[in-house]
């Protein structure tokens, strides 16, 4: 346990002192989230929030608890303690379907695509367009295909055909398809888990461009990335986790790359949240 006791306890609940409250209420807010897997305390009293029209990056070293937090947000498993607040109302999610129903879309690091299905089917998985009639409603393949083509064009995704099975696509193409999914679905919060990990320069650029477009659309975007370049390129705020604990949330415009790295590694100990000056332009970054 490197420097296990170095960092300070979670910062005090003193946000109100610093902040002129954000102009927009958070879409999603997590408070005091803890999660334990057997002997491993994956998360301890973590908080997190995202507002409409902003990109929040979630960073941390390996084992910081990012993936666990993402899985809690997307309803894969419930937290042991803590509360999840969606649009001002406390909520409990019993499974991924609940998160989807709220309007949270997740693009996973391990992609979560069905290899045997084609691109169209994967883009619309769980949200197929079709006639009424519940599960026996007829699919409208033409509508789905047209929307798929238009969204993939917008993202300049290069694939042989939208009717290609995912199994026949390259890693980069799969990532692009996975990312395109959240564009199709009118979600209020979009989580992207390492969206650029397997992409070339061109496609990375396209995905970051897509992230900005989602934000300008008024959605709350959460991006997890090891690549700080990407983080600084798109994020408005950056939340740092370390060893399952909340370190702080920083304005991407004011925090430096070096500072961020030291928060992530624990070299810079125990930072509370850095207060942000209320933006003159009335931007939404205030914390």
């Amino acid at each position: 346990m490197l420097g296990g006791g170095e960092y300070a306890s979670p910062p005090p609940e003193s946000r109100e002192e610093h902040v002129a409250v954000a102009q927009r209420a958070p879409l999603l807010e997590l408070r005091g989230i803890s999660k334990r897997f057997g002997a491993v305390q994956a998360l301890t009293d973590v908080r997190f929030d995202v507002r409409p029209g902003e990109v929040v990056a979630l960073v941390g070293d390996n084992g910081a608890g990012k993936s666990t937090l993402i899985k809690i947000i997307s309803g894969i498993f419930p937290p042991d303690s803590g509360t999840i607040v969606w649009e001002g109302h406390e909520t409990v999610m019993h499974g991924p379907a609940d998160a989807v129903a709220l309007g949270i879309s997740t693009v996973y690091q391990d992609l979560a695509l069905a290899d045997n299905l084609d691109v169209v089917a994967n883009l619309f998985l769980g949200r197929e367009v079709g006639s009424a009639g519940g599960v026996f409603g007829t699919l409208d393949e033409i509508a789905m295909e047209r929307r798929s083509i238009s969204v993939l064009r917008r993202l300049s995704v290069k694939i042989p055909s939208v009717r290609t099975a995912i199994a026949a696509l390259s890693g980069g193409q799969r990532q692009a398809v996975a990312a395109a999914r959240s564009v199709l679905w009118e979600n209020k919060v979009v989580l992207l888990d390492e969206p650029t990990a397997a992409l070339g320069v061109g496609q990375t650029h396209e995905v970051l461009e897509l992230v900005r477009r989602l934000r300008d659309d008024g959605r709350g975007v959460v991006i997890i990335s090891h690549n700080l370049e990407d983080v600084f390129a798109v994020a408005d705020r950056i939340t740092v986790l370390r060893l399952g604990r909340y370190v702080g949330t920083y304005d991407a415009k004011t925090v430096s790359r070096e500072q961020l790295v030291s928060y992530m590694t624990g070299a810079m100990p125990g930072t509370a949240e850095v207060p942000l000056p209320p933006s003159a332009a009335g931007a939404v970054e205030a914390t």
């Binding site: 069905a114 299905l117 047209r146 083509i149 995912i166």
Partner: protein
């Protein structure tokens, strides 16, 4: 071409269609071509070996009758395999449900139609129980249905009691396999069937073109339609020379059309494929994975029950060995030979029809040649092995193509 995400990658016209097929085969999506070729070979061999008896109208009607029951069961097996699961009880459940029907009708005097309904309902219940058990306790379907295979066998013996064999005389029940359509009725059914298939392709093509999407060329559609029409017309003509088109075959084809629609064109079907392809992805997409699995096991048992009813109707009896022996093996073999992957997520409902045609042709042909059942079993086993090997090789090709 590559940056244009449109449907037909191969180009225009017939050449383009052929090119698209070539690409798909190269990617391991071989479809049903090997089975069709295999079937043609099998028919040729038996045609020659039997001196023509194999394709006589009398024998073709027999073949159709033999196919109906196990073919129906195989449709359910296809769905279970699509999930990447297995159901070892479909054979014995067909026997048990037929036994329930026979006892209710013959021993307890329940009217035929009601007894049939009771048999099918028993199938639904058995499937629900097994599906719930598999999902609730997270036990592999292989183990749960293995227990079921043994347990339901006992239930069948219990239901039949000391009688052993129950003979069926109810006119409704015996009419299920004993009714044949001849003349214009048979032709009309054939026209309906071909019209449905061709119309479906035609309207799909028109809607796609209207929506500005690529579609299969008219020439390919016409050739395919002509082949289907020719095959159906030939079949009905041949059957009409003898007793006619069996009602039980009409049932089988009807079930296949409905189930194919469900598999390919409904949300439920999409869910089944998604769960079979990547269960975790399906779960994360909000698909109720456990409920889908339970529903599929219920469906398989239901179709097994109906298959059992048809088999009993043809044999005019239910006995202690109903649904045992090679019923289960043939049903699974039919689904697999037809091109349904054992690894889940790939296959079509038509696979059941093609597969049962292969299995039953072999069995029927070897009976005609009065081959020993030892030879029959070995040859059927070899055909199954070849079919699965082709699937495995295709799968490897697909992985290479995807890498």
């Amino acid at each position: 071409m590559l940056d244009d995400p449109r449907v037909v990658a191969g180009g225009q016209g017939l050449r383009g269609t052929l090119a698209t097929y070539r690409t798909r085969w190269a990617q391991g999506d071989i479809g049903q071509l090997p089975v069709v070729i295999g079937l043609v070979v099998i028919w040729l061999v038996f045609y020659i070996a039997s001196g023509g008896t194999f394709v006589s109208p009398f024998n073709l009607v027999n073949l159709a009758l033999q196919m109906a029951a196990v073919g129906t069961i195989a449709v359910g097996v296809v769905f279970v395999l699509l999930l990447g699961e297995i159901d070892l009880t479909v054979g014995i459940v067909s026997g048990l449900c037929a036994g329930v029907m026979a006892v209710l009708n013959v021993k307890m005097g329940m009217p035929g139609p009601l007894a049939v309904v009771a048999a099918v309902v028993s199938g639904i219940l058995i499937g629900l129980v097994q599906g719930l058990w598999i999902t609730r306790f997270r036990i592999p379907s292989f183990v749960v249905t293995l227990a079921g295979l043994i347990g339901w066998q006992g239930a069948l013996l219990y239901v039949l009691g000391s009688t052993g064999t129950i003979n069926l005389r109810d006119p409704f029940i015996t009419s299920l396999a004993g009714t044949f359509f001849t003349g214009w009725v048979a032709v009309g059914l054939g026209v309906l069937f071909v019209g449905y298939l061709v119309g479906l392709s035609y309207f799909l093509r028109r809607r796609r073109l209207a929506a500005g999407l690529g579609a299969e060329p008219m020439s390919a559609l016409l050739i395919r339609s002509a082949l289907i029409a020719l095959f159906v017309a030939g079949g009905i003509f041949a059957l009409d020379q003898d007793r006619g088109l069996p009602l039980s075959l009409v049932f089988l084809v009807g079930i296949i059309l409905v189930m194919d629609h469900i598999a390919k064109r409904t949300r439920f079907g999409r869910m089944v494929f998604a769960v079979g392809g990547n269960r975790e992805a399906a779960r994360r997409a909000g698909i109720p994975v456990q409920r889908v699995r339970i529903a599929v096991f219920a469906l398989a048992s239901t179709l097994a029950a109906w298959g059992g009813v048809l088999a009993a109707s043809r044999l005019l009896a239910v006995n202690q060995s109903a649904g045992s022996g090679d019923v289960l093996l043939n049903a699974i073999a039919a689904a697999v030979i037809g091109g349904t992957s054992l690894f889940g997520g790939r296959g079509t409902v038509w696979a059941a029809l093609l597969g049962i045609l292969v299995i039953q042709s072999i069995s029927n042909g070897m009976d005609l040649l009065s081959l020993d059942s030892s030879v029959k079993f070995m040859i059927t086993g070899a055909v199954l092995l070849v079919a699965v090997t082709i699937d495995a090789i295709a799968r490897r090709g697909r992985e290479l193509a995807g890498a």
